[in-house]
């Protein structure tokens, strides 16, 4: 005999953790949050930089600089620097998006002081040695080849080229293309580094901080980072005038067809933001969301297709992505677009409640580790949002009514969708054409 199905008791009150905030003399903003039991300290540095400032001939220079920050710094050569980090159990990673350079450090608490000194050196005085510059640039060209051969990466690259205006940086790969990478040298990287400034930057430190005087440790390290200039501002991407089209990138022999369907969308600072993550979740955020209920659980065409909001420092996009077996490509695209159309017909109150309940009730669990908490505050800093934005957004979600989702949906894909397929053109082109989905632009690459 089975026990009767239990009732769920409502979650208790939960308040989003708030960090302590200090501004150092050099303009660096320090956010600290003590999380008992979290023995690996997460440090996230966000430096405002704009990729739109890159010389078009040298696109990717900021990303290459990020990759070179830990290739020797502060008097240590590349191998010595790597060993110094690793002997302290530290790992350092850096990356770039429009609006920000992020440098992440994770380190056991007892090595925090030494690791912060290395982080400060990487930010303030990277060595950029010629041999490592050559290697990192060459590896990017090789990475570009890898991305060209991987269907999801290739689709993502074609989607930005389709969705955003060719006049704007957002339409091209963050880390550059072979022709721009090959034009970069050490002087270009030096010039980009001159835009890496403490003023306007944020350092988040979270974890078990008991017994650690973090402001003093940071003051002795990143507090001594001196560089002057005016911090960069993120630039909003501009949609392409012909964004609503279908592009088929030929990938001969593909046994699956990769989709990327997108449109410009609001970012997290938008007044209506709260409705958008709920909308994306209900359309394609889980195996029982509308798209997978049809394409996976009913038809068996896919392992999973996801819809997601992709907020940027300013603005953002809504993207549906995933793959189906090639034999059903045309039908799957018709069904997918049908689900996006159906979303315009609105969502009933129970479906809305399911989405809101998932996102709001899952929220406390997302604040349980030092790295997750630091990532969240770093993202808020990058996007220039108040530190209580997640809690406010949860409250706004709980107040949503079905009409709010309809209004949000009315802002997505209004002029049509940018539709990219990476697939075996020989097999899928004719069925796609015959399906009447619209003109198809074929790209051989």
């Amino acid at each position: 005999m089975s026990t009767p199905r239990p009732e769920v008791t409502a979650p208790g009150p939960w308040h989003q953790p708030r960090p302590r905030e200090v501004i150092l003399d050099n303009g660096l903003r320090l956010l600290t949050l003590d999380l008992p039991g979290q023995e690996v300290i997460a440090c996230r540095t966000v430096v405002p930089v704009s990729l739109s400032e890159e010389d078009p001939a040298h696109e990717g220079a900021t990303a290459m600089l990020a990759r070179l920050l830990d290739e020797g710094a502060g008097g240590l050569g590349p191998e010595e620097f790597a060993l110094a980090l690793e002997r302290h159990g530290a790992v350092l990673g850096a990356g770039v998006v429009e609006g920000g350079l992020s440098v992440d450090l994770d380190v056991p608490a007892r090595h925090l002081a030494a690791a912060l000194a290395l982080l400060a050196d990487a930010l303030a005085e990277p060595l950029l040695p010629e041999s490592e510059v050559r290697r990192v640039l060459r590896n990017r060209v090789a990475e570009y080849d890898h991305e060209s051969s991987s269907a999801p990466h290739r689709a993502a690259r074609e989607l930005i080229a389709t969705m955003w205006s060719p006049r704007c940086r957002a339409s091209r790969p963050t880390a550059g293309r072979p022709e721009t990478i090959e034009a970069i040298d050490r002087e270009v990287l030096r010039a980009r580094h001159a835009r890496v400034l403490p003023a306007g930057s944020t350092l988040v430190v979270s974890g078990n901080l008991r017994g650690l005087d973090v402001p003093a440790l940071v003051g002795d390290t990143l507090g001594r980072w001196q560089a002057t200039g005016v911090a960069a501002r993120a630039v909003a991407p501009e949609p392409a005038p012909d964004a609503a089209r279908i592009v088929l990138v030929d990938r001969p022999g593909s046994v699956q067809s990769e989709f990327a369907i997108g449109c410009p969308a609001p970012g997290r600072s938008d007044e209506q933001w709260a409705a958008f993550p709920v909308l994306a979740y209900l359309i394609g955020g889980s195996p029982n969301a509308r798209i997978d209920a049809l394409l996976r659980e009913d038809k068996g065409y896919t392992y999973g297709i996801r819809a997601a909001m992709r907020p940027r420092a300013v603005g953002g996009s809504f993207v549906v992505s995933g793959s189906v077996r090639r034999e059903v490509t045309a039908e799957a695209l018709t069904l997918l677009l049908g689900e996006l159309d159906r979303a315009r017909e609105g969502f009933a109150a129970p479906e809305l409640a399911r989405g809101v309940d998932f996102i709001t009730r899952a929220q406390p669990g997302r604040w349980g580790t030092s790295d997750a908490v630091a990532d969240e505050f770093a993202a808020l800093a990058l996007e220039g949002l108040p530190l209580d934005q997640p809690e406010r957004s949860m409250a706004a979600m709980q107040a949503l009514v079905p009409d709010d989702l309809s209004s949000a949906m009315a802002r997505l894909g209004v002029d049509g969708w940018s539709i990219v397929l990476v697939a075996d053109a020989e097999t899928v082109f004719e069925p796609l054409r015959a399906s009447g989905v619209g003109p198809i632009q074929l790209v051989r690459s």
């Binding site: 089975s2 029982n288 669990g365």
Partner: protein
């Protein structure tokens, strides 16, 4: 010094091993179940079945409709999934504390009363979904066959680790409803599983909830124990080449390692880190930064229990460079480590990185629960969650040297080369 995560353990009369680890940081509980069946238990002609079966666990049970497991848990804010691996299958969700009973009720229903709901339609549907998973992960991406190739060359036909968990298309096609019934009866039941509850609850609350929902289930599993499948030592290198549409040549150099949670395995894993697992590793210094003949080097060691573990180095060869030359350097470095062992700096770095990686894994409630279930099911010792790190940190330079000599000797290597079409080899 051992870590001190609290562990409370009790075994129910039906054989279910329950472990509760209280942690009040956030108001959630992770429910983590490990079942003692993985792809190593599959029989010839039915590869991929353990994983296909795992998918069917989401398609309804006696009191739960198809898809309802996901729907009911997501609606309360759960994060959930399941995975299948060589040695086991796991099922897990992290829920707000008020939904713990619901999660356990849903788990007990599918782990005890699945077969009433299984039918041809949901078997056929999930077979299609799994085939798409195989195409997405293995058949469509460049280098997607690397790991299946490695397993097939590293272990002889019939060995439990000879085939990948995803299985083959032919075997997936061959699976029948009768197979589903037989598999469930053999492997599923409280006497072949571990339940870990980790989060904001007390030990007594956890035991009472486990007893309430799982207590009524009979000890229904009928696993047939067999001795570990210890493979013979490889005496000469083996090689497998696949030429195709890949962007660059990639070499995967694999080894049979000792079983998990032995000093020999820990030493071999650290040896692989010294060779290629760190930014300061020997092959990184020599081939990536130095000669720049490789774009990247990575090292992997998977601890397994059925007679052997798997370790491998992955090298992406730079365009225009002869992969044989790269392999020759790897051979030199394998021999040098076997002769000299690591330097004190290398040992420090490998230990410190192991420590951070393990502490990071334990930092997340869901990963900690998974490790506790892992150590309980496969090593009969959940306390390893507190001692494993000390065991690894106790490994000496001499042990690493000996492990390299014994288990990473070039004569025992298996090389899988995925080569770019149209280039001279």
């Amino acid at each position: 010094m051992p870590l001190d995560y609290p562990l409370h353990e009790r075994t129910l009369p039906n054989g279910l091993r329950v472990i509760v680890s209280p942690d009040p940081l956030v108001p959630t509980v992770t429910v983590n179940i490990w079942v003692g069946v993985g792809s190593r238990h599959e029989v010839a002609g039915r590869t991929g079945f353990a994983h296909l079966f795992e998918h069917l666990m989401f398609q309804g049970s006696q009191n739960v409709a198809s898809g309802e497991h996901f729907e009911a848990l997501l609606a309360v804010g759960a994060r959930l999934n399941a995975t299948t691996w060589f040695d086991r299958s796991n099922y897990f969700e992290t829920v707000p504390t008020g939904a713990l009973d619901l999660a356990l009720w849903l788990e007990a229903d599918r782990h005890g009363r699945l077969l009433d709901a299984v039918n041809q339609a949901n078997l056929d549907n999930q077979r299609d979904v799994v085939k798409e998973e195989k195409r997405q992960r293995y058949d469509n991406p460049p280098y997607g066959q690397m790991l299946p190739d490695l397993y097939a060359v590293l272990f002889p036909e019939g060995h439990p680790y000879h085939h990948a968990t995803i299985g083959s298309m032919d075997d997936l096609d061959a699976a029948t409803l009768e197979d589903v019934h037989a598999f469930f009866r053999r492997w599923y039941g409280p006497n072949n599983m571990v339940l870990t509850l980790c989060g904001d609850l007390t030990a007594e609350e956890g035991f009472a909830a486990a007893e309430k929902f799982f207590g009524p289930l009979p000890a229904s599993a009928t696993p047939v124990p067999r001795p570990p499948a210890v493979p013979a030592r490889l005496e000469a290198p083996r090689r497998f080449e696949r030429v195709g549409a890949v962007p660059h040549d990639r070499l995967t150099i694999g080894f049979r390692l000792p079983v998990d949670q032995t000093p020999q395995f820990h030493a071999a894993a650290l040896a692989l880190d010294v060779l290629g697992g760190l930014a300061s590793s020997r092959l990184v210094r020599r081939l990536v930064r130095g000669s720049q003949e490789a774009l990247s080097v990575r090292a992997t060691a998977w601890g397994l229990v059925d007679g052997a573990s798997i370790g491998f180095l992955t090298l992406d060869v730079a365009p225009g460079v002869d992969p044989h030359g790269v392999e020759a350097v790897v051979v030199e470095e394998l021999l040098r480590l076997a002769a000299e062992g690591p330097t004190p700096d290398e040992l420090d770095a490998a230990r410190a990185q192991t420590e951070r990686a393990f502490l990071t894994a334990l930092a997340a409630q869901d990963e900690r629960a998974d490790l506790i279930s892992h150590y309980a099911l496969l090593h009969d010792d959940p306390g390893l969650v507190n001692r494993h790190l000390d065991d690894v940190l106790a490994v000496t330079a001499d042990q690493i040297r000996d492990a390299a000599a014994e288990h990473l000797h070039p004569d025992q290597r298996v090389v899988v080369a995925h080569l770019r079409e149209g280039e001279d080899q």
